[in-house]
């Protein structure tokens, strides 16, 4: 049977029609993922009453016959994608073009409705084949005698929501007529041809140009469209849906509210969604997506098809504005958008250049459908249910009015790649609660009245998470220390540089100084500045100030004098305590107490009396200030006492514990390092001044001083963990981190390095007594995700507040505010600044204050805080707090600079540095170094930008603000003269610079500053480590700050090691390390550089010293030794300056082996033990005695070999030198005098070898043979037998003699050697 569509309408043109712009978007999306069902739209109309299925099917066929858009397939043709006519008619199931209608009677099913829904879901998951068609599907489910579900699914490329309503209405009309036996009226639909023509006409019209101009102007600044997920994702094939209903009462109230502010209820709901989005994302400006009908003319209003569009609605949600005002913005915004609604969403994105960036134009969509069909089918009433409104990129809030007066239905549809189902539920619950509060409130009150927490969430974040009340006695910082000193006067209190003070001694010394200070006016409420470097005296001074009742003001000796002078002038302390007179800031007119030479023996050693209360200030610490001057934070005793009591309760410290004091006194972490241990009977171990920057020193100190407790800023912890000695710090019990975000990778690295040690993450600003949150880190590798800063400490409340000071629910970012006993009193002498940072607390006891941190944070569901970043321009660089404004102010104050901007760049991953941008000076005339030198006079070194860039103008965003993202990365080009390295060490230094900076070696000149080349202090640590490993120089990182160029650094090394240190008899290849040193003896040429390959291969804890020939330096008293014995005796003297007594470890290659053997014999004869003698392819003198002494020619060959070349046609010394220069060899940097000396040494050594008479070494020999065939086939290790008392163990290495000290052969050697060294270490 062939049932024709009734009535047969005019067919589309055979060649079909082009797609409209709206269709093209959908077609393209489907083409990208042909198997995706995401473009399916579907609805279900529930019909309550009798339905005659045969008539219903007839009605459907008739309507399909009237609606052109349903009778097409979309195929790619030579002219692009087109909609082609599709014949539909047959009911034959085998006919591919049969009419897509199914009928099911589910009355027999256990749950007919559920079964029907499952069938619908199955169908909805089926993608259409656009090129084949048909592009719709009907089904009628009988779920009860008198109830049926009409399901229809249509591809979005041919139908939109408004089209659905036209189809449903016409279907009801046709069915009703057919059921009554009447002929349905003529089709009300317009033709698809007209729709396509209208679309084409629009696109070539003036209106199109006007619309384009409108949208381009409205979004010229390309606002960031935030969404609730905080990230974007590709569209998924499906979506999650959460459905809720708003009852009649609330929806009526919302409608009344809308009427009251001259708006419609959909506009009120859109305003409410904007408010929710703004608060949930901590963003004042939001962009919502509004699906719009897109039908402007009356023709389109009669055509079922795909026309709809999504348009951006940009809204500013300011806390001071009222809800009525926000609604007004919505009304006006929609009005403007509606005028330009035919311009496509995809085109706006394209015009703004957002397509390529994958950036969103809009956040969530709010799809309000203020129409219900309210249809009846031959008298049977019906209800419509949307099942899918099309693809969900992010989040769509669909809102339907229900015509039966039962209220509104709200669907939250979310992209599963961005939202979990329960998260949608959470957003929905909060949104509904917000709607209820809005409906109950006066719309003319500020939006600040509204928060987005539900009642339960509010109680959770304000009260439950902050249940930290704890009774503490009203004590001070110092009281418990004096009590402890009385309890354990003989216990060690303080260790520094080999000296120890007991509690009794420390207390007495501090008391004597305290009495003296009290006489000078240090009393409760008064300040005493302390300018003393890390030492016993520093702690004595701090205690003395507290004992006298005063508050201490640390003056970090590393700060520039100008800055220290400013602090003293600002704080007006009663006295300045300094170790030396030179340390007292000049010209500040404050009495000085100079400890050097101060005699307080006449003062009493007993505790002085004082009227000190917990409210009195304990210390004042200066922090960076945004307006260009640092500010003093006044912290009272009660605050820091609470902090220390909490810490002791959480991490009990006892007499066996030793706390490392390494933080400079100007940073408040030092406060617990100074005072905690002394309150509980533990011991403070003080690091050397500057030691806190040197990971090797720290690892050594922690090990040697049995430190159990210490602190690291996370970036320094990374540096420390990279230090080979870190893994041996197993005496540690706990490590604290604070100061900046702690990366998960660092926590995991910590777990790998020190698996038995606890790691705790703490957080707090100076303004709240060091730390206010804590989190024990799980260092196991399986744990992922950000490391929280944790829960509040005792008597401390944390609030995460939105821009209206309303609490944020868990997961929602806001500014972190702190309240409770740990708050500072004030910024010294800055009442307005104090009143703007320490503000009234709306959630605490009456009249209490909270401190706003400027940190962006959020609660986890478990009551911990996660740190997210800053809300302002304050930055943390390696734990150091920096107000960029302070640096900008300093820069702008320099002559010729008209504008300044400073930011932290991360042009290489993990490598953050400060870069300054200035306008005004001419780029060529600008002396960056001079400006940086000037900055360094007022700013601490960590605040001086590593690079300065001159700009003609600052880049501005379209709305006229400074566009920080558009500031260029500073050029990495070499800034110096490009002078080439002159000697091997200089060459090594430039190579290491380049390596660490990730640059080409040739781009680094001898006079290029490390920091100018993009170096940071993290990279500096790496560089120093590499220099140490490669050159064996024990260099402090601080040295790099004073000597930034390879040239200057080379000079520094000289200063440390003596001039031409690399040519001295004793060459310290690596001085660091706790093992017995290994002494290595030069081969024929007299230089021991060939052993540098050992350094990277041996344990880093193994010191190595080279012995080199006399005569390399043009020293007056230098002469070549006359015998091997004389040479060996000389070397014994040298090595004894490093290691006065045995057991000794000796190694020599070639001639060096003979020397080593001779040295070993001499040492044994002197009564010393030699526990290792290792010879690398060395043979006793009698093997050579018949051989001719090498001529100069042979010496030249040897010299070239030392540089790694085989001699070809070089005849003379000059030829050889030319080759070395041409090849850029390190040896070429040696002076001609030295090269000449090398040749002489080679010849002399050949003579000595032949003349030597070996004595017997009473011990074992570890021997490595170069086993490749060679001309001197007679050489055998057995020739040593007469000269060895013990056994000789031979290891054959498959290479020639000259290659023994090169990779990979050296690997084999060190393998064996390391095992032997390890055995000896046991």
């Amino acid at each position: 049977m062939t049932a024709l569509l009734e009535p047969a309408t005019e067919a589309l043109p055979v060649a079909g029609l082009p797609l409209t712009a709206a269709q093209s978007g959908m077609w393209f999306a489907q083409a990208l993922d042909p198997q995706s069902p995401a473009q399916n739209t579907a609805e279900c109309i529930e019909i309550h009453g009798p339905v005659e299925p045969r008539l219903f099917a007839r009605a459907l066929r008739r309507v399909a016959g009237e609606a052109d858009a349903l009778r097409v397939r979309l195929a790619e043709t030579a002219e692009g994608p087109r909609q082609l006519p599709l014949a539909l008619g047959s009911d034959d199931p085998a006919d591919p073009a049969r009419f897509p209608f199914e009928e099911y009677d589910l009355r027999g099913a256990a749950d007919p409705d559920a079964t029907a829904r499952a069938r619908m879901r199955e169908d909805l998951a089926r993608p259409f084949d656009l090129a084949a068609g048909p592009l719709f599907q009907h089904a009628l489910f009988r779920v009860a005698d008198e109830r049926r579900l009409w399901f229809q699914r249509v591809h979005h490329a041919v139908m939109d929501g408004f089209g659905y309503s036209l189809l449903a209405r016409r279907t009801a009309e046709v069915y009703t007529a057919l059921a009554a036996g009447d002929e349905p009226g003529p089709s009300p639909f317009g033709r698809l041809t007209d729709l396509v023509a209208e679309d084409a006409a629009y696109r070539s019209s003036q209106a199109y140009e006007t619309d384009r101009a409108h949208w381009n102007a409205a979004f010229a600044d390309r606002p960031e469209a935030v969404n609730l997920a905080g990230r974007t994702a590709l569209p998924s094939r499906t979506f999650h849906r959460r459905t809720a209903h708003i009852g009649a009462e609330l929806s009526d109230r919302l409608k009344e509210l809308a009427a009251g502010v001259r708006a419609t209820w959909p506009e009120v709901l859109i305003a409410a969604q904007a408010l929710y989005l703004s608060r949930a994302t901590h963003t004042e400006e939001v962009v919502l997506g509004l699906p719009m009908m897109g039908r402007m003319g009356s023709a389109a209003l009669r055509i079922p098809g795909m026309v709809m569009n999504v348009l951006p609605l940009r809204l500013t949600v300011a806390p001071h504005a009222t809800f009525a005002e926000l609604t007004r913005q919505v009304v006006l915004g929609i009005r403007a958008a509606r005028k330009h609604q035919r311009y496509r969403y995809e085109e706006i994105r394209r015009d703004l250049g957002l397509l390529g960036e994958g950036r969103a134009l809009v956040g969530p969509l709010v799809n309000v459908m203020p129409f219900d069909y309210g249809l009846t089918f031959a008298g049977a009433p019906s209800t419509a249910h949307n099942l899918s409104a099309g693809p969900v990129d992010d989040l769509t809030v669909n809102i339907y009015d229900r015509a039966d007066g039962s209220g509104l239905r709200i669907d939250h549809d979310g992209n599963p790649a961005l939202y979990k189902e329960h998260e949608l539920g959470v957003h929905q619950r909060r949104f509904l609660a917000l709607l209820a509060r809005i409906a109950a409130a006066d719309p003319h009150e500020p939006l600040a009245r509204h928060g987005i927490c539900t009642g339960a969430e509010r109680a959770l974040v304000l009260d439950e998470f902050n249940a930290t009340a704890r009774d503490v006695p009203p004590t001070t910082l110092i009281g418990p220390i004096e009590a402890q000193a009385a309890r354990t006067p003989d216990a060690p209190a303080l260790v520094f540089d080999g000296s120890t003070l007991t509690y009794g001694e420390l207390n007495a010394r501090a008391n004597r100084l305290a009495w003296h200070l009290a006489e000078l006016g240090v009393r409760p409420g008064a300040l005493a500045a302390v300018a003393v470097p890390r030492s016993l005296d520093l702690v004595v001074a701090l205690l003395a100030v507290a004992k006298a009742g005063g508050a201490y003001l640390p003056l970090d000796p590393d700060y520039p004098a100008e800055r220290l002078a400013h602090m003293v002038e600002d704080a007006r302390p009663a006295v300045v305590i300094a170790d030396t007179a030179a340390r007292v800031p000049a010209g500040v007119g404050v009495p000085a107490v100079v400890l050097q030479g101060l005699d307080v023996s006449g003062e009493l050693p007993v505790n002085p009396p004082r009227a000190l209360t917990p409210q009195h200030p304990a210390y004042v610490i200066y922090t960076s200030g945004s307006t260009g001057r640092p500010k003093g934070v006044v912290v009272p005793h009660g605050a820091i006492d609470n902090r220390l009591r909490w810490m002791q309760a959480e991490y009990p410290l006892g007499p066996g514990d030793r706390v490392l004091q390494k933080t400079p006194s100007g940073f408040d972490v030092s406060v617990w390092e100074f005072f905690w241990a002394l309150r509980v009977g533990a011991t403070i171990v003080m690091a050397a001044p500057g030691g806190h920057k040197d990971p090797a020193y720290l690892a050594r100190t922690i090990r040697e001083q049995a430190v159990t407790t210490c602190h690291f800023v996370p970036s320094m912890l990374q540096v420390f963990l990279a230090e080979p000695g870190a893994a041996d710090c197993t005496g540690l019990r706990r490590v604290f981190c604070s100061g900046e975000a702690l990366p998960r990778e660092t926590v995991q690295e910590f777990g790998r390095t020190l698996p038995e040690v606890e790691l705790h993450n703490l957080y707090g600003p100076t303004e709240a007594a060091v730390d206010v949150t804590y989190h024990p880190c799980d260092t196991r590798p399986a744990v992922a995700g950000p490391v929280p800063i944790g829960k509040p400490v005792w008597n401390t409340r944390l609030y995460v507040l939105d821009a209206a000071l309303q609490p944020c629910p868990p997961g929602v970012p806001g500014e972190l505010h702190l309240a409770g006993v740990q708050l500072a009193t004030a910024y010294l002498g800055r009442p307005a600044l104090t009143a703007s940072r320490f503000v009234a607390d709306p959630y605490g006891p009456a009249g209490s204050r909270m401190y706003r941190t400027g940190d962006l944070a959020r609660w986890t569901e478990h009551g911990e805080i996660e740190y997210l970043g800053r809300t302002d321009h304050q930055v943390k660089l390696r734990g150091l707090r920096i107000e960029l404004g302070e640096i900008e102010t300093e820069l702008a104050a320099r002559e010729g600079i008209t504008g300044a901007c400073v930011l932290v760049r991360e042009d290489r991953p993990g490598d953050q540095r400060l870069v300054g941008y200035v306008t005004g000076p001419h780029a060529e005339a600008f002396d960056a170094d001079a400006v940086r030198d000037r900055l360094a006079q007022t700013l601490p070194d960590y605040m001086v930008p590593g690079a300065l860039v001159v700009l003609d103008d600052f880049p501005l965003s379209p709305n006229g603000k400074l566009d920080r993202k558009a500031l260029p990365a500073p050029a990495q080009a070499a800034t110096g003269t490009g002078r080439a390295p002159r000697d091997p060490r200089e060459e090594t230094l430039t190579r290491l610079f380049a390596e660490v900076l990730g640059q080409d070696r040739l781009s680094v000149g001898m006079d290029d500053g490390f920091f100018d080349l993009g170096g940071t202090s993290l990279l500096a640590a790496r560089l120093v480590r590499r220099i140490r490993d490669t050159l064996g120089a024990d260099l402090a990182i601080g040295a790099l700050f004073q000597a930034q160029t390879p040239a200057a650094l080379a000079a520094q090394l000289d200063a440390g090691l003596g001039n031409d240190a690399v040519l001295r008899t004793l060459l310290p290849l690596r001085t660091a390390g706790s093992r017995t040193p290994l002494f290595v003896f030069h081969p024929a040429g007299g230089l021991s550089w060939c052993y540098s390959g050992l350094l990277a291969r041996l344990d880093p804890d193994q010191p190595v010293y080279g012995l080199q020939a006399r005569g390399l330096l043009a020293e007056a008293d230098a002469h070549l030794p006359a015998s091997m014995a004389e040479m060996a005796a000389d070397y014994v003297r040298e090595l004894r300056t490093v290691q006065p007594h045995g057991p000794y470890r000796l190694l020599g290659w070639s001639v060096g082996g003979v020397v080593a053997h001779t040295v070993a014999v001499l040492l044994q004869e002197a009564g010393e033990e030699v526990e290792l003698l290792s010879l690398l392819d060395a043979y006793p003198s009698d093997q050579w005695q018949d051989q001719a002494v090498p001529a100069e020619a042979d010496a030249l060959t040897a010299l070239l070999r030392m540089a790694g070349y085989e001699r070809t046609d070089e005849l003379t010394r000059d030829d050889v030198l030319a080759t070395l220069h041409r090849e850029g060899s390190a040896l070429a940097g040696l002076s001609d005098t030295t090269l000449t000396a090398v040749v002489d040494i080679v010849v002399n050594n050949a003579h000595l070898m032949r003349a030597h008479r070996h004595r017997r070494f009473d011990g074992d020999v570890l021997f490595f043979t170069a086993a490749a065939p060679r001309p001197e086939h007679w050489l055998t290790p057995d020739s040593w037998r007469p000269y060895i008392g013990g056994t000789l163990t031979e290891h054959a290495i498959d290479c020639l003699h000259p290659h023994l000290t090169q990779a990979p052969h050296l690997d084999e050697i060190v393998d064996v050697l390391s095992r032997r060294l390890k055995e000896l270490d046991r």
Binding site: T283, A448, A804, S836, F838, S848, T871
Partner: protein
């Protein structure tokens, strides 16, 4: 995130000169700047404003100087 000026910052543009802030004072004679759009918390009373941000800041400096 593009948060505007916070509730305790000086507003930008024209609002910078608008009466946006209050000065509050508690029993301990501590001051707090406060956004005029929100009532001051319990235990604090308004001693100045609504007034422009800078005027409030100047008022606090003045109050401290005479205290």
């Amino acid at each position: 995130m593009t948060a505007g000026p916070g509730p305790f910052d000086q507003p930008t543009g024209e609002r910078g000169q608008a009466p946006t802030h209050l000065v509050l004072r508690n029993m301990r004679a501590e001051h707090s700047l406060w956004p005029a759009h929100t009532p001051g918390p319990e235990g604090w009373r308004v001693t100045h404003g609504p007034a422009p941000y800078e005027e409030c800041a100047a008022h606090i400096e003045g109050a401290a100087a005479t205290a």
